[in-house]
């Protein structure tokens, strides 16, 4: 269990983490989603007792991270970003070293168990410097799992892995999430959607949204946008739609690939029938007319946007479209 209340980390005037409040429950995977520099790592560092918060409290595995730092560290497994390891040690001796510091009995046996679990048993006697990036990531994970901690905190565990390793790691995260409190960070949206029971979207140090991927999607798809495709001149078709009375002052944008995005100003109106009717009457060949699927990616971009709304809408729609075609 991780309970964070109004956690803040201030560097001079700059708030790296600002008033962050959330709960990560046992048996769940909680995903920390945000662009680089959003404050994910800083928050995790505070939760692992590496650095103290400026204000606010965090209770990890039942202990306050500030007052009972050692108790927290006993119960947390932490995989830092970039997976710092001792390159000259062998995989096994590294785990034994960490295990000895943690005071684990039968540390040799335990090290082999964990190595076996992350699929590195055959590389137990290899020097860490000879391992691939993916293997090193797994050594880092083995280090975090060594003492079978209540709470696992993994900072960008899939970064730098090949697609196959990413899938493997995601399924491992899901599995570990069943009997641990698991908090992991990522800036890959699809990953959060696939793996997490709860997603926390963070940007510029503050939480922008949190909830299950499904709940976030439902929340955001109200008053959803419509994507239309026509054969021929998209601009002309857009002009026709703009002139419609029933659309209710919708914003109509034409994408680079010719798709037309219609955003109704009133969420309760579904203007699809009217649009289809008018467009066909005008002799424009309608190919496609459907609600624009809202996925985590779009929610994320919506919540974390820094550029003008227009630009982002176009980009987002293009990305979404591209992904759907690809899949």
């Amino acid at each position: 269990m991780i309970e964070v209340r109004q956690l803040t980390k201030q560097y001079g005037d700059f708030a790296a983490v600002n008033d962050v409040t959330f709960v990560a429950k046992p048996g769940q995977v909680t995903g920390f989603l945000g662009p680089n520099g959003a404050g994910k790592t800083t928050t995790m560092r505070m939760l692992t007792g590496y650095m103290p918060p400026t204000s606010g409290t965090a209770i990890v595995a039942g202990f306050d991270v500030f007052d009972k730092s050692l108790e927290v560290r006993r119960r947390v497994g932490y995989l830092p970003e970039n997976v710092p390891l001792y390159r000259d040690m062998t995989t096994r001796s590294y785990l034994q070293y960490v295990g000895e510091i943690r005071g684990i009995r039968n540390v040799r046996v335990r090290a082999m168990e964990v190595l076996d679990r992350v699929g590195l048993a055959t590389r137990a006697n290899s020097r860490i410097r000879t391992l691939s990036k993916g293997m090193r990531q797994r050594v880092g994970l083995a280090q975090a799992l060594l003492h079978n901690p209540e709470v696992l905190i993994l900072d960008e565990p899939t970064i730098g892995l090949d697609p196959y390793q990413v899938l493997e790691l995601r399924s491992l995260v899901r599995e570990l999430g069943r009997d641990h409190t698991l908090l992991f960070s990522t800036h890959i949206l699809g990953e959060a959607e696939q793996v997490c029971d709860q997603v926390i979207i963070i940007n510029q140090g503050t939480i922008r949204a949190q909830g299950s991927p499904a709940a976030l999607r439902a929340e955001m798809s109200r008053g959803g946008r419509i994507l239309m495709r026509v054969e021929g001149d998209s601009q002309a078709a857009a002009t026709v739609v703009r002139g419609l009375s029933g659309v209710g002052d919708a914003t109509v944008d034409v994408l680079m690939d010719g798709g037309i995005v219609i955003t109704p100003s009133n969420a309760d109106i579904d203007p699809r029938a009217e649009i289809a009717n008018t467009v066909i009457t005008r002799g424009i060949k309608l190919i496609e007319l459907r609600p624009l699927a809202v996925n985590l990616e779009e929610i994320f971009l919506e919540l974390t946007r820094q550029e003008t709304a227009q630009e982002i809408t176009e980009d987002a729609a293009t990305i979404i479209d591209g992904e759907e075609i690809a899949s």
Partner: protein, 266 residues
């Protein structure tokens, strides 16, 4: 199917309650660091250079002495103590700088141990290596025994003194390796600090005519006042032992505090 069952077994093994007992983190750190010294070429290079240098000098001393000078076993520890401004920075420069630069310090600092534990572990490893180096020079005592009758009390004082002296200098060098992530900078600043402490006695001579009290104070601060002419000739004074112990404890305390402030800066 077999794969499946194996998988489930390992998973159960993984989530089994892990037994933990009393832990002495500094001991684990000490073992690792000492092992690193004996597996790295630099430790052997230092030992070779020192022994070669001492060998040449002592050979010259023996041949010049030509059975007229007394057999003196303090020659080797005295030289080693002088060379500490080179040896100690080489031994300590990577101890904390490297951990900070590689990011492994973050892992250490999120393990359940106080900073002082790994700092003491690392310090003891460096001191242990120095102890081995010092023990190697005992060979010259054996050589002296074959050519004459060296004063045993004097030799004992010189060796115990050099051992404490080495510990104090290594502890002082630890401070700089905690301050900077750059090993070269750490080594350079360490060497400069050790030289200043070594030369304090000479500085004291310069200012003694203007301000004898200040001169005495500066002299007492320096390393030489507590070794040269006291321990090195077999005079074991409590104040000298206390000076070295205080230097070790003080320097390690400062190092710990510097590493602690990393939490606030990081």
């Amino acid at each position: 199917m077999t794969d499946q069952s194996v998988h489930i077994e390992t998973h159960e093994a993984l989530s089994r309650e892990v037994q933990t007992g009393a832990s002495f983190p500094f001991w684990a750190v000490f073992k690792r660091e000492l092992g690193l010294y004996f597996r790295s070429p630099i430790a052997y290079a230092i030992a070779f250079a020192i022994m070669f240098f001492l060998g040449v000098l002592i050979n010259g001393y023996l041949s010049q002495g030509n059975q007229q000078a007394p057999a003196d076993s303090t020659y080797a520890p005295l030289l080693l103590v002088f060379l500490l401004f080179l040896i100690a920075p080489l031994l300590t420069m990577r101890l904390l700088s490297e951990e900070a630069r590689e990011g492994t310090l973050e892992v250490l600092m999120t393990l359940p141990m106080h900073e002082s534990q790994f700092i003491i572990g690392k310090f003891l490893a460096a001191w242990a290596y120095f102890t081995v180096l010092l023990a190697l020079t005992l060979v010259y005592h054996l050589i002296m025994l074959t050519v004459g009758v060296p004063d045993l009390g004097q030799a004992f004082g010189a060796y115990v003194g050099a051992w404490l002296y080495g510990g104090a200098v290594i502890a002082v060098c630890m401070i700089w390796t905690a301050v900077t992530e750059d090993q070269i900078v750490a080594a350079f600043l360490s060497a400069a600090t050790v030289l200043v402490l070594y030369l304090a006695e000479i500085a004291a001579i310069f200012i003694s005519s203007q301000n004898p009290r200040l001169a005495e104070f500066v002299r007492e601060l320096g390393l030489q006042a507590h070794y040269n002419g006291t321990l090195s000739v077999g005079i074991v004074r409590g104040q000298d032992i206390l000076y070295f112990i205080l230097l070790i404890v003080g320097a390690l305390f400062i190092t710990t505090r510097i590493v602690e402030t990393r939490r606030w800066r990081a």
